[in-house]
């Protein structure tokens, strides 16, 4: 394989990324902060913080605490609201140099539709990522995206309204992820981000208090890697042609290659970017090295190539 034929670019159902290593939602700042810390032209893409219709002041502090190989966080989705976002942050994000996914979140169908409409006319938006881990205000569900009917309704409406590809970011810590994934794709999602952070709690023993100001939060970081791999594996086996973006516990090139082997098309780096803002570039480099070592041409050649035993459960035959 001559080096010149090798590429890191990936096509996620219509949106092309220069590399498969993106920065996850809520971990990319507002477009200015990363300058000088990473060359955003060498980052596969970035996802905005989750934007809501109205401005949100966000959660009480502390908003982040550590857990074994992880962080528990709750920003309360602080953001300036869609209008301010479109006016100020979006152009800055897009100018930074990487394909821009906009994460949208709400509690009702109407909010999602309004958010999508507001982004319709914006050429800066490479894709929409639908945040689905929030509370369903209409149905009073704890986690909106864990319920098939609501997932279908909301993802469907966003997909119908959007002019760009739509990625449904399924909530973390849910069973039957294949069913949810299938439903989201049937409803019109171009692809899936797997997964959001699962619900978590950290306790500060010294004060007998929750470690976070808003009590509960979500788990991110390396601890999640085996959960992410499992989800990607199951969904990719069920739907090998649907672009899957892995999120949760990815920080190094090896982590990313493991995800690609399990079936991911691209990966997002969240906590890893907070620790090492150049992580997405290093991850891309790691993927390139793997391609070279294995004599492969493109990230897609690694996808789903996990070598399985010929008889998945040999013991069953005993």
């Amino acid at each position: 394989m001559p080096a010149k034929d090798r590429t890191l670019a990936v096509d996620l159902g219509g949106v092309t990324l220069p590399t498969p290593a993106m920065i996850a939602a809520g971990c990319a700042g507002g477009g200015r902060e990363l300058a000088g810390l990473v060359d955003l032209h060498r980052v596969g893409g970035l996802v905005s913080r989750t934007i809501t219709v109205h401005p949100r002041p966000g959660a009480s502090t502390p908003r982040i605490a550590e857990s074994p190989s992880g962080v528990v966080w709750n920003t309360g989705l602080q953001n300036a609201g869609i209008d301010a976002f479109v006016a100020d942050e979006l152009p800055r994000l897009a100018r930074a140099g990487a394909p821009t996914f906009v994460s949208i979140g709400g509690g009702t169908l109407e909010e999602y539709v309004r958010l999508t409409s507001a982004l319709q006319a914006r050429p800066e938006v490479a894709a929409i990522e639908v945040y689905l881990s929030g509370r369903d205000e209409t149905m009073d569900h704890e986690i909106l995206g864990a319920h098939v009917e609501r997932l279908v309704e909301i993802v469907g409406a966003v997909a119908r309204t959007s002019l760009v590809p739509v990625f449904a970011k399924l909530p973390g810590g849910v069973a039957d992820v294949v069913t949810l994934a299938r439903s989201a794709v049937r409803a019109g999602a171009t692809g899936l981000t797997l997964s959001g952070s699962p619900p978590a709690l950290a306790v500060e023993l010294g004060t007998l208090r929750p470690a976070l100001g808003d009590v509960t939060g979500w788990l991110s970081g390396p601890a999640l890697k085996p959960l992410t791999l499992r989800t990607i594996f199951e969904v990719s086996v069920a739907m090998p042609h649907v672009p899957l973006i892995a999120s949760g516990g990815i920080r190094t090139g090896s982590d990313a290659v493991e995800c690609l082997l399990a079936g991911a098309w691209a990966v997002q780096i969240g906590t890893g970017s907070l620790v090492d803002p150049a992580a997405p570039v290093e991850v891309a480099r790691g993927i390139a090295a793997s391609l070279k070592a294995l004599g492969l041409r493109a990230p897609g050649d690694l996808r789903g190539r996990l070598r399985l035993p010929a008889v998945p459960d040999r013991a069953a035959g005993a």
Partner: protein, 290 residues
Amino acid sequence: MKRARAEILSTRKLGAYQSITLVAPEIADRARPGQFLAISMPAGRDFVLRRHFSIHQASRRGGWAGTLEFVVDPSSGPGTGWLSGVAAHEFLDVIGPLGKGFSFPKRLTNCMLVAEGRGAAELYFLAQELVARHKRVDMVIGAPTMEAVFKPIEAKRLSQTVAVVTADGSLGEKGSVLDVLPEAVARAGTEVLYAAAAPRTLRDVAEFCAVQRIPAQVAVEERMGCGFGLCATCVVPVARKEGGGFDNLRACVEGPVFNPARVLWDRWIADAATFRELRQAVATEDGDAG
């Protein structure tokens, strides 16, 4: 803001603290008092976030040019514990200088610096810069114990007067910085006040300054996911200049130095007195299994 793989030039114990000097010319060149560093933790640990440290010294000239010093309280937890054990000639992954530092008074002259514990480290850097600008510097330095009073001799060298207080009375007066602040301010004819201390102390200092109508700047600490503006975890509620309401501003970008008159202290500090017990707080669900 720069990222550097910085060699440790020296590391030494200073009372309760460990003082670490790095070779990091690009960061040292840019550093201002009140700014801080974000330092990577080693791979393979079960804690992952960077740790944050105020800049104690940035040498831009002379024999130490290009070096940067910060001070670690090793008792804080695993990250500071690890950092205090790192030896000279090892390397640290450092990002800095971060945040908005203190600004210097243009017209006013008499500056009071109020520090608790390791908060003194960054204020000495500030004192130096103030002295270089021909300001008068006075200090109130507090700590729980004598060992935790950071470099009292250095404080003396940099300021006209120094009031030292310890909670246990082992050095200086027994008490807290607030106990001696009014007298120190009166004596020094303080026109501007700077503080680096625990949140509750800063709140009390803010109140004092408001009553006394002394303009002030305080350096806060808040839990940080990154330290350079990506994650919006490190926020402090600050009143808007106009239009009412407040914004949750990032301590790592818009801070860590804030005007205390605009910080919504009671919103920011989760006051122990406002807590109550779980069983009282959450009503049992209606006649259910529970």
